[in-house]
Amino acid sequence: MQISSMHFKARATQKLADPDLREALNGLKQRFVPGRAAVIAELDNFEEIREAAAEIRRRTLEHLDFFLETFERKATERGAVVHWAQTWQEANDIVLKIARDNGVRKAVKSKSMVSEECALNDALEGAGIEVVETDLGEYILQLGREPPSHIIAPVIHKTRDQVSDLFAEKHATPRKTDIGELTREARERLRPHFLQADMGITGANFVVAETGSTLIVTNEGNGRMATTLPRVHVAITGIEKVVPTLEDLATLLRLLPRSATGQSISNYVSVTTGTRGDDEIDGPQAFHIILLDAGRSRILASEFRDILRCIRCGACMNHCPVYQSVGGHAYGWVYPGPMGSVLTPNYIGLENALDLPHAATLCNQCGVVCPVKIPLPELLRKLREKQYERGLRPKRERAALRCWSFLAAHPRLYGWVTGAAARVLSWMGGDRKRIASLPFGRGWTEGRDLPAPEGETFRALYARRGAR
């Protein structure tokens, strides 16, 4: 996927002015947020399970090489072929080679964010291989040639009307407005692709070291189709997705669908282990698994290791006031929301995503809902510090921060300056006691008035009251 994370501010401004988007994003607050809360309440020991889940992910990451090698050995024993890729390019090359070796002309895909990272579809199409996205959301995006805007609900930015127009145009059928009928139309369009495809490409929500299995969680059944019908199955995933045991998986699966879509369990949890047995009548004959690094080992080495615990549930973006307002496209790459604001600068370079660490209010809603207890606000703050250290923030902002830090370290001066500022602001507020335009703060006062301070500063008040 093309990277345009440099332009968050400009895109966010544009998105805020889009009434269709605002309507579409309502679904987050109306469905995802209460949906999650309701199914979390089913678990009397949610916090205990959450701590266990975080611990499973921590344990895995601390011994990642061991679990990867164990996984590779087990998967290979069962007839799968395990490939390793250090870069997106390498991963694409591996898929292309598998396709060539197997005479693949058509591939069906089940939603995979890792393949979005790699821009795998472009690579396949470039090599003359037809590739069809089969998740309803991803299919809509492929028709409209758009990137996803959410890791779980990729077309959350689109209204039903927009989908109606798109289907009528691309399918050349009478325009339908009923969501059930639209879904049926997509099903009927996609079924033949499943039956004809030579290759099924999926991601993996987890891979299990103990058994050498890969696993996908879906609701539509397209993931099952892609792993059952074509003669070759390729699963592509990040090296951090390994979990030790099937029991660990059970723990994580109590949290993933609940946090993601507000379901106690997703419709299909499909675990694939090796190739089909001699006596089986369906299932692919060849199974390839690609383990991708592409920046993950670098993150593992850094102070951002915690983000690798992420199980891609999307809860942090669903609950983020910034994401709720601007949607996913503003973030400019595969991963939006708080997790994306941590991942993107780490994957593509801090200098290429300057605004992202600031695309948060640090309200910690994300930290509260994250099922694997990733301290997202803390990681965002660390990124901001790094930006400052590396001189990646605007001169004026850095000068302001230096002034503030000087003041904060000199309490007397601080008291004097803030007292003076309060008086000036109060004078500026006039009778209305509001400031309509603030020098050095025009961006802030453009959309609202600043209430003028009245009376003393907190310090002065505290000094007086404290003395009593």
Binding site: R31, N45, I49, A53, F66, L68, E69, W84, A85, Q86, E90, T134, L136, G137, I140, V155, V163, I179, L182, T183, R184, R187, R191, A209, T211, N219, E220, G221, N222, R224, M225, T228, L229, P244, T245, E247, D248, A250, L253, R254, T261, S264, I265, N267, Y268, V269, S270, V271, T272, T273, R276, G277, D279, E280, I281, D282, G283, S297, L300, A301
Partner: protein, 217 residues
Amino acid sequence: MTSARDRVLASVRTALGRSDPLSEAQTKIMRTYLAEHPVGPRPQLDWEPVARFSERARLLSSTVEEVAALEAVPAAVAAYLRAHALPLQAIVWPQFERLDWSHAGVSVAARKAQDQDMVGITGCFCAIAETGTLLTLSGADAPPSTSLLPETHIAIVPCARIVRSMEDAWALVRSERGALPRATNFISGPSRTADIEQTLVLGAHGPYRVHVVLVRS
């Protein structure tokens, strides 16, 4: 030139502050963890499993009925198909081919599912009460496509095979099968999507209907 595998593993090790694989002592601890595969914290599971399974399966938009014995399944299936104006024709898992389907007026074929097949009848390895989920393990007599391609999926579930949680299901797989088959499928109700405006629609790519026939003995 080193392989991508070696390069990836080397950078993982460097990241973890080691130049070599895990120490022997650490390896032993992790091996033991894998061998013991401890069960994590579970929520309270103190309900009656069969009732809980039925309740949860219905919440997932499956329908559930109960029959006394396996011999009663064909008649129950026939009644269900008639009630829903569905064809009295189905593909079945080979293990159920020998039930007396013709007496009930249902014609069955034990073969791989095709696009036109309207009804698929399967069993299950076990079912999970906590979530109302079916677990199927692929094999010669349990092809996965039977529960996937047809619009209607009918599952035969012996009450005795209902376990409480996914952990219990794994324990059963370990004790009865040892290893996982190619496809281990947890199925929780008819396929669905909410991709357009977060509005739930049943019947995305898989079945529109899942009907569970519980068998008491």
